[in-house]
Assembly symmetry: C3
Homo-oligomer: 354 residues x 3
């Protein structure tokens, strides 16, 4: 699978990478080590010593120096070798580790897998909801499926009525039309279901009485695979602000062609203090994780397996109206990939001429 | 591996697929779901929703309708989409699941993996012994080996003297010549060992006295991988009818290139009521399964592994007289595959002309 | 991966192959069965029956005859079929198992994977230290890594200061220069660290007082992957003979492209009888095995994984002075492989002309 390089990927929750840690994680098939400098700022290096390719994350890190566990080369945080402990002490030309741009924002570490010069923090999708509202729990797990099938899953919210029936959706909600809007490369897939029975998650955080509600879902997608869900319920016909809900963080980062990091959390608003304590907060987190790991993942893995068993020529999907988001995000990514390919070709040509 | 398509494969024992079940099983690398209509007749569909390729077997089935678990499309038993639950309700052209011909006979469900128009039930190999005689137990297991090595195993009955020595064969039986007969595409590999010590299985079901017997084995093979064994013992020089034996059902269906469904049962005749009760019946079933799973399978897996480690050019087998059946069945299958390839090419040509 | 064929590989410790055994092991991707003839001499055959490719090691061996478990063909120790138990009794032309040259020396069985006519025992690397000195324990384990990364590991002894820090090396030892000598195809990678703190292994077998020592390591490599380590300590400035040490046997044999047999033992000299009893001997063996299995192996596996994740074009290693041995052994092996390829091409040409 080809991944867009010049874009921000979610690398880790800030809390995952402590002071002094060498934190190893794979993104887009590349082994990366994350660490913090003396100011606590994050640094990302290729997790591969330029000498004999031992992972740097198996080495030691102190005082701004990463020391390879195998033959002791030492590297500064710009990736350059600063010490060769062997008798000559000579530092070989090209003894440097590729470094990737990172930026910390919204309780998260973001990494730019392409050309660091283009890594503009202004391009990080807006997750300020994380900063503004209480977060249930910063969750991370790896889903054994390619990332594109997970984006497909999320951007077709009708699946909640079937896969998460009773918990996050139900059949009456299917009747509501889905609308899609595109602003630049950002998509919004929106549905407003009116006067429907409340799925248990939303009854639990709202009135706990099983009475009908209006329920909206607004799934925002930013390239390459950063999603933000605005979901909530209110009394039928009322304003949203009379109800409650959460901003669901659903950020994916490809780990390999076949596996995907899933970062998730829920940012609650209009909390009812009478019913919503710490225990409830964890219950929400657990229920969401159950829905993703125990309901979505087995299905997406099965879908992946079925696709792998199929002749690719047989895999022309029948299209439904709810696929609008799926079609659109795939088109945007394809365009980005095309553009990256062209740029690479051009720079290669230039090189050849020179 | 290439599999013959226009032929009947054994899909399941009838008892495996209950009313209301969505029974998933893979044949020839294709995921299939089996189910029963209101009359109890069997239906087989590709286990792949035409929308986004979720397995239909993870969905729901009631009142003749299969509902996909992912976004709720509903399909009739002819595979055609009959309901789109989304707002427009429009049923997309081509929203249909491929359906495969099935036929139930001899306590078994048979499936035709090719063109349903050619699926003539008269072509199902005759296993009426299942209907005529008591069956020990309907067994199914998956062998981790390609199906052709298992057919080879069965069609060279001399292996019983070595692999199942003492249980199903013994060395004195090797001296008996093997004969082979072909009728249409049906092979019979026959051996009649006279006045030999009885293998324990046959002593157990016959006289339980260890006295010599005549022992015959007649292995019938029908394409693609349906075998029927007529095996029994009688007093030396006597008629078969003075002895006892069973019809061994050995029907293989490729699951994938590397794994094979093994359906087996024994149909007993001339049972001695003094010694043969229910317990004995299960003992026979267990002993047979032990022979196939604990004696044949490790050997066939090892043989497969050794072949995979070898340069294909080094795999020209030395031929023995007992290979007559092995050579013959492989030739018949190759001819069938050639014929299917030609037909496909012709129809492609026709298409191109048109 | 391509392996040199016309060379001696270490197959097994002599004690591993008992009288009457059919001992199966894979070398260079080929399944081999080892056994002993009536004189106790070793024989190696391809572990593959020429009939239907069952492993001979699953069969029976007695009186100089190997009997295949599948259909009972019998083979003499020259690999030729000597009995066909089936009615005709005819022995098919070409019913023979390839036989490989073996030689037993230094408590070990050596195998020549190429043309047996070239298998001169004089070419077996000299491990007479095994015969001359007491051996801690004959060890064998399989490392899940390609053999070349393990040779690289061993021939750069500077790694002991980092990977086995405190046990087999320490940072002060890094300062000592590494020298390399080549005699024919034999390399010696030598380092003499003077007046350094003793790593715990050497303190344990020497003075047990933590006082500084001189510590030398002399790693001899013979093609394809046979290493002998002369390592020891003595009082600073003294003669080697005033100290103690061991000859470390490190002999690798590729099992497959991805896995490697590791045969190891230590031959102690100048043993201090006051402190070195049987228990200590096992302690040395255990400590060495810990170093190889628990310190080297995870690192080498990680290095292998990182390489597999990388674009091969990105794998041009930065060179250090300690890489002299690594560069040299790889060059020698490449030359040997080139020579084998040429010879094969020539003989093919000759055949084509004839
Ligand atoms: S692999 Fe890092 S210093 Fe050698
Ligand atoms: S995958 Fe079946 S309805 Fe969408
Ligand atoms: S495979 Fe060895 S005798 Fe048949």
């Amino acid at each position: 699978m080809e991944f867009v390089k010049n874009t921000w990927y979610f690398a880790a929750w800030s809390e995952e990478v402590g002071e002094g840690d060498l934190f190893a994680r794979t993104f887009c098939g590349k082994p990366i080590v994350l660490l913090r400098d003396a100011n606590g700022d994050t640094v990302a290096m290729l997790d591969r010593c330029p000498h004999r390719f031992a992972p740097l994350s198996m080495g030691k890190y102190a005082d701004g120096i990463v020391k390879c566990c195998y033959h002791g080369l030492e590297f500064g945080l710009d990736g350059k070798c600063v010490r060769n402990p062997h008798p000559s002490g000579k530092i070989p030309r090209n003894a440097a580790v590729p470094v990737f741009a990172t930026h910390e924002r919204h309780s998260a570490i973001w990494i730019w897998m392409g050309d660091a010069a283009q890594a503009d923090p202004a391009l990080i999708p807006d997750y300020s909801k994380i900063d503004e509202y209480g977060v249930t729990r910063f969750d991370h797990f790896v889903m054994d499926a390619p990332y594109d099938l997970i984006v497909d899953n999320l951007l077709d919210c009708s699946h909640t009525s079937f896969v998460h029936d009773g918990i996050l959706g139900n059949e009456p909600m299917v009747a509501a039309p889905t609308e899609i809007a595109q602003t630049g490369a950002t998509l919004n897939v929106v549905r407003y279901a009116r006067d429907v029975p409340p799925p248990s998650m939303f009854d639990m955080i709202f009135r706990q009485d099983g009475q009908n509600v209006d329920c909206w879902t607004d799934f925002r997608w930013d390239p390459p695979c950063c999603l933000l869900l605005d979901v909530g319920v209110c009394p039928p016909g009322a304003e949203k602000s009379e109800g409650t809900g959460y901003y669901g963080i659903h950020i994916l980062t490809p780990e390999t062609d076949e596996t995907t990091h899933y970062f998730t959390a829920a940012c609650r608003w209009n909390i009812n203090p009478a019913t919503e304590n710490d225990e409830m907060r964890l219950k929400i987190a657990d229920l969401r994780r159950f829905a993703f790991e125990d309901q979505d993942e087995p299905l997406i893995k099965a879908q992946h397996r079925i696709r792998q068993m199929s002749d690719p020529d047989d895999l022309r999907p029948v299209m439904l109206e709810t696929d609008a988001g799926v079609v659109r995000w795939r088109r945007i990514i394809d365009q980005m990939l095309d553009r990256e390919r062209e740029t690479t070709d051009e720079s290669t040509e230039t090189k050849n001429v020179a």
